[in-house]
């Protein structure tokens, strides 16, 4: 039998029972579609994490207390270039929550007390107005910089610079709005005020000695190469100022490490989802085998006729395997189209509480199609061999 004859014969057979062929196809469509979508999501989130590393700068370090509080005195010590030559900038933060309202517009927001360094350390840009300055920090000024989303919630499209808002009942003057950012770690829903104001006016906590305790210190190393050196310097300075002899009462996070952890978790998730998608493809393949076995039984007589007409075993095998591969390849193509459409459709959308980002690369559909053909070959071979093993005399007598 020539390849053209095999293809023609398979099409003849598949069109005999279109509904059944379509249902068998559906399993493969769903399997391939989910594989494509999940792989695109995996690629997309990996991209986003990489983007984030580049955006935040891989020279960002974070210190959090794990025992004794960190204070502004610690911050000052860390700022001393004599002890910390590898550090470029130090930005302490106090985090709290509060209610912000103007007139009858109210919104809940995370409120962070910061110093002017925060803008550079976190790579932020101003949308309108100015950031918090040193005089604001020194004078406990009641000024606020709004995240883009907060500004939008309270003022809509208006420029809020100069307007007054109330935070937990206190009057604050809006001095600026941050430019909108997308992605993980976005400051859009944040409200920034001077760190001293946050401590004395909003937090309500006090520590002995009259110093200001901070929740977290973001530190920018001079460059990526000096990150390790900077960590050592931070540890030395804090151990000295905290008079530590045994275990540290603080923890230093390397931004790269945090993102590596995220990436790892992401990869695990992608592998897990990929496995689930793979299983659905497998189930689709079993569906194909099931249909093919039914088809072999139903067409016993046809097989007998073909054998009497001189069909060899390999002709029969070729015919049935080709039918199975047609089903899975057809399902694969539809699945690829569906998967790519779905991946494109959800890209950048905010659904089920997450912003989805997907990246479609040309290798994904190629792999999916090769896999779907392989599924057809694998699950088609057994029914095909059963068909070819039929005894022509009995097959011809089959009712």
């Amino acid at each position: 039998m020539s390849p053209l004859d095999i293809i023609r014969t398979s099409i003849y057979s598949l069109t005999a029972n279109r509904l059944r062929a379509a249902l068998a196809l559906l399993g493969i469509v769903l399997g391939v579609c989910s594989v494509i979508t999940l792989m695109s999501i995996g690629r997309g989130s990996t991209d986003r994490i990489t983007e984030l590393i580049q955006g935040l700068g891989s020279n960002l370090l974070t210190v959090i207390p794990s025992g004794e509080p960190l204070t502004l005195a610690d911050v000052d010590a860390l700022r001393d270039p004599l002890y910390t030559p590898s550090i470029k900038a130090v930005a302490p933060q106090i985090g709290t929550f509060g209610t912000i309202h103007i007139d009858n517009n109210t919104t809940q927001a995370a409120i962070t007390g910061v110093t002017p360094e925060f803008l550079h350390v976190r790579n932020l840009e101003m949308g309108t107005g100015a950031f918090i300055g040193i005089p604001h920090v020194e004078s406990l000024a009641e000024v606020v910089v709004l995240g883009a989303q907060v500004s939008d919630d309270l003022f809509g499209n208006q420029d809020p610079t100069g307007a007054e808002v109330r935070i937990n009942g206190r009057r604050f003057r809006v001095v600026g709005v941050l430019a909108s950012q997308s992605g993980f770690g976005s400051m859009d829903d944040q409200t920034l005020i001077p760190i001293t104001t946050a401590y004395y006016r909003l937090s309500g906590q006090r520590i002995p000695g009259g110093d200001i305790s901070v929740d977290q210190i973001s530190i920018q190393a001079k460059d990526v190469e000096s990150v390790d050196q900077a960590i050592e310097e931070i540890e030395t300075v804090l151990r000295l100022s905290h008079r530590i002899t045994e275990a540290d009462d603080f923890t230093v996070f390397n931004q790269q490490e945090i993102l590596d952890t995220f990436d790892e978790a992401n990869q695990t998730l992608v592998v897990f989802l990929g496995t689930v998608a793979g299983i659905s493809l497998l189930v689709g393949g079993i569906g194909i085998m099931n249909i093919m076995l039914v088809s072999v039984t139903e067409r016993t007589r046809e097989i007998g006729i073909r054998q009497a007409m001189g069909a060899k075993r390999r002709d029969i095998v070729a015919q049935f395997v080709t039918e199975a591969v047609f089903l899975t390849f057809g399902g694969g193509i539809i699945g690829v189209i569906a998967g790519l459409s779905l991946a494109t459709a959800i890209d950048g959308r905010f659904l089920i509480g997450t912003e989805w980002s997907t990246r479609v690369t040309s290798d994904i559909p190629v792999i999916a199609l090769i896999v779907s053909i392989a599924v057809g070959l694998f699950f088609g071979i057994y029914p095909a061999v059963r068909a070819a093993r039929l005894n022509p005399i009995e097959a011809l007598r089959y009712e």
Binding site: T9, I305, R306, Q307, A308, M309, A311, K312, R313, I393
Partner: protein, 248 residues
């Protein structure tokens, strides 16, 4: 369509063929054929008769290379079949044997023409369409080529079956109860076509039947009973068959 070869070698040469079927788990043996010896020559029109269970179907399966004998030898066109693999048997079927079945056994969704082309597909034949058209013309179905089996009468369906069998120019046209499902008029029509193919085109025909009037159209009637040949009669005819020539 066949140029008669006047070689003395018979088309079908069966020597002491026995076929034993094992039933159940091998405890019961059924001797379907028991030492059958016979020669069929090019151009003969032979009927094989016998009651059901006489072994005529088994003999037909062996002649048609669908099955191989348990013992004995069988040559078709000089080729020994009994030792052939499944693939070689399929090959012999595709080149040497044209089957006509009791039920027409056409593929329902193919046109008459495509059904006739089918056996040539497995033999890698060139000019399939032209040959199929020619074969359909031979059975007077030139105007029904694009019809599907369901659009044809029983007799027409069987004629498509005959066209399909003879399109490969087989060594032997093997018909198993070809009129078993047909009414009198259609039976006559099919038998006329078979006779015509034998007389005018020189095609060797073997008809397996249990009906006397069907067998009566043949030149030679072989009767089987209990797996053995109990009679082998050749009708006297003005022209001697090659078998008779050989005997002279």
């Amino acid at each position: 369509m066949r140029t008669p070869t006047y070689a003395l070698q018979p088309v079908i040469r069966i020597r002491d063929v026995t076929k034993i079927y094992e039933m159940g788990d091998g405890t019961i043996q059924v001797r379907a054929l028991d030492g059958v010896t016979l020669d069929i020559h090019d151009g003969e029109y032979v009927a094989i008769m016998g009651a059901s269970g006489s072994g005529k179907s088994t003999l037909m399966n062996i002649i048609g290379c669908l099955d191989v004998p348990t013992s004995g030898t069988y040559h078709i066109d000089g080729q020994a079949v009994e030792t052939m693999s499944n693939n070689r048997l399929a090959d012999i079927r595709s080149r040497k044997v044209g089957f006509v079945f009791q039920t027409h056994n056409l593929l329902p969704r193919l046109t008459a023409l495509a059904n006739v082309e089918l056996p040539m597909m497995y033999g890698h034949w060139p000019n399939r369409r032209k040959r199929a058209e020619h074969a359909l013309n031979l059975v007077n179905l030139g105007d029904r080529m694009d019809h599907r089996p369901t659009e044809l009468s029983g007799g027409q369906q069987q004629r498509v079956g005959i066209a399909r069998a003879l399109v490969k120019e087989p060594s032997v046209l093997l018909a198993d109860e070809p009129t078993g499902n047909l009414d009198t008029a259609n039976t006559a029509e099919i038998l006329n076509i078979i006779s015509e193919l034998n007389h005018q085109n020189g095609i060797t025909v073997i008809v397996v039947t249990h009906e006397r009037d069907v067998a009566a159209r043949a030149d030679r009637i072989i009767t089987l009973s209990d797996g053995q040949v109990i009679s082998d009669e050749t009708k006297s005819s003005p022209l001697m068959t090659k078998g008779e020539l050989e005997g002279v």
